[in-house]
Amino acid sequence: MEVKQNYIPAFDENELKQVQLHISKYPKPMAAVMPVLWMIQDKYGWISIEAMKYTGDLLGLPYDHVLGVATFYTMYFKKPMGKHHLQVCTNVSCMLRGGYEIYNHISDKLGIKNKEVTADGMFSIEEVECLGSCATAPMLQVNNREFYENLTTQSIDKLIDDLRKTV
């Protein structure tokens, strides 16, 4: 995931078409706010205040409404996260099978706590709620996307090394 620390939000022509496509799916443009926020996050890695204003302008919504939506949903990042954002599930099913050991191992290894970013900007960690992968616990998700399941401390070490290598 590309993370831009500072950015001026702007969509190109194709992306604006995509926005129109999202608007056309719903009876009212307000409903496109979640898909558009997803587009912003996919492009810049997080959602800044300027990006919320930009979204509001695109959809004809007041900025405070977009702020309200963006802050309600936990998957929208309101500050830049690491290039590889590790979301570790520690909810019941994962906890019973060692979710906290995995979380603490990563936290100690990278020297960061919940929602903190490493100094080089490569990794961040978050303790998240159930991700619907209870049979393959413990597990984590990277950048709101790929699931890594049936984790052990060894497989975590390998995963972190592998992620470090990807540019």
Binding site: M30, F72, L96, C134, A135
Partner: protein, 465 residues
């Protein structure tokens, strides 16, 4: 055992494979030979009940939709699936997505609906992509779109991606989220069938519920109603996790004994240990003790005997070494995190319960904390707009009822100190006040005495003078 949804056919997610296994034949049958009312009647007769937790009769729900086309009507398919311990819809998206799409189309036909939204939780990135492809494939083959299969029935289907809010699995919250608002649940009535998304008639069904529909149409309501417990017929996708050897999703008839699922399908408890506690239907459902688990039959009617419900059929098994209090603390943390903040009892109460459970787990618990927890839980339950309040209160309340000794073991303090809240609000009976220990009474008396002294002392400066 015959399976309705998770059939043993490889690559069913491919539309051609699905069609060659008599896929979309129910849709053809419905469009060519059945009237909408007849479809609803068939589903009603089958006794199909919602798989999202409330177990409401699906056919009856469909009849709530107004007839005629004064307003556009909507169908929302609930794939938010965020209940801890529940991971069944994900299996449907992966193994048999077209059967769900077909079911949704049949439901839309039965209720005269023109737009279907499939709301899938944002964390299911992989499965959202699968569903988007499947919907596009169905459009290409002419199963979705205008004049489906040459009939005058037209419908559109869209996949909507959530962004990580458990509350959006609640139907009215899902509608607000779909409209592009914060996912706050709405007060009911008005019910979605009269005032749903954008003020239009709306029906919300669970993914698994809709996936059952094509087979009911193909094989008949009578066939379906004979599977499992007649009061709660069909199969359930049991998602088993926790301390078992082979966790996973198992499709079995309703009424299957819990121990059969754990021992025969999941290979028993890990390391041959004993069971201590089982949560039968996702984290919000009251738990079962070992004795109860040995007798429990897994359907909504039979589980009532143990004061619990089938929920989403997400079974979490815990062995004898499990720290029950810590488990409940983690569950409470979840509800504290996910409370939307709209109703005070839930927003504040979940935080209070977590704080008290935290201090019990740290070994700083007070003797009255257990009663305090029950008191807070009972003041949340039933006093909130949506069921999240109940979902937060039940595990705490019922675990204390069934496993009180586990909590007592963790509390070393033996003095009976009544929580301030109870004293102030008089939630207790008067004779219980006698339980306040002497030390505390003296402290209170001294305190009041000091205040009195200060009031009478003219040398003490007061703001009023």
């Amino acid at each position: 055992m015959e399976k309705i949804i998770l059939k043993d056919i490889p690559n069913l997610d491919n539309i051609d494979v699905y069609i060659s296994n008599s896929g979309y034949s129910a849709l053809k049958k419905v469009l060519t030979s059945l009237k909408p009312e007849e479809v609803t009647e068939e589903v009603k007769k089958s006794g199909l009940r919602g798989r999202g937790g409330a177990c409401f009769y699906t056919g009856v729900k469909w009849t709530f939709m107004p007839k005629g086309n004064d307003k556009p009507k909507f169908l929302c398919c609930n794939g938010d699936e965020s209940e801890p311990g529940s991971f069944k819809d994900r299996e449907i998206f992966e193994k048999n997505p077209h059967q769900f799409i077909e079911g949704a189309l049949i439901a839309a036909y039965a209720m005269g609906i023109g737009k279907i939204y499939v709301y899938i939780r944002g964390e299911y990135w992989k499965w959202i992509n699968i569903m988007e492809e499947c919907v596009a494939d169905a459009y290409k083959k002419g199963f979705i779109g205008k004049n489906i299969l040459g009939s005058d029935f037209s419908v559109d289907m869209y996949v909507h991606k959530g962004a990580g809010a458990y509350i959006c699995g609640e139907e009215s919250s899902l509608m607000n989220s779909l409209e592009g608002k914060r996912g706050y649940p709405r007060v009911k009535p008005p019910f979605p069938a009269s005032f749903g998304v954008w003020g239009n008639p709306t029906t919300i069904n669970n993914i698994e519920t809709l996936a059952n529909v094509p087979e009911i149409i193909n094989k008949g309501a009578e066939w379906f109603s004979k599977i499992g417990n007649p009061k709660h017929p069909g199969t359930l996708l049991f998602g088993v996790s926790g301390h078992v050897n082979k966790p996973g999703v198992y499709e079995l008839p309703t009424g299957t004994p819990l121990m059969t699922i754990i021992n025969d399908y999941c290979g028993g408890v890990t390391n041959g240990k004993q069971i201590k506690m089982v949560i039968p239907g996702g984290s919000s459902m009251p738990p079962l003790t070992r004795e109860e688990a040995e007798k429990a039959l897994m359907d909504n009617e039979n589980l009532r005997e143990f004061n619990t419900f089938i929920g989403t059929a997400g079974i979490i098994v815990m062995n004898e070494d499990t720290d029950i209090v810590d488990v409940i603390r983690r569950i409470s943390k979840f509800y504290y995190h996910e409370s939307c903040g709209q109703c005070t009892p839930c927003r504040e109460g979940t935080g209070w319960m977590l704080k008290v459970l935290d201090r019990i787990c740290k070994g700083e618990g007070k003797k009255n904390d257990i009663d305090l927890l029950v008191s807070v839980a009972e003041n949340i339950e039933g006093n909130t707009i949506c069921a999240l309040g109940d979902a937060a209160a039940w595990p705490v309340k019922w675990t204390i009822k069934k496993f009180r000794n586990e909590f007592e073991k963790k509390i070393k303090d033996d003095k009976s100190k009544l929580p301030v809240l109870n004293k102030v609000h008089g939630l207790r009976k008067s004779e219980e006040y006698n339980l306040i220990d002497e030390d505390e009474l003296t402290v209170t008396k001294n305190l009041f005495g000091k205040v009195q002294e200060n009031i009478n002392n003219p040398d003490v400066k007061r703001f009023s003078s």
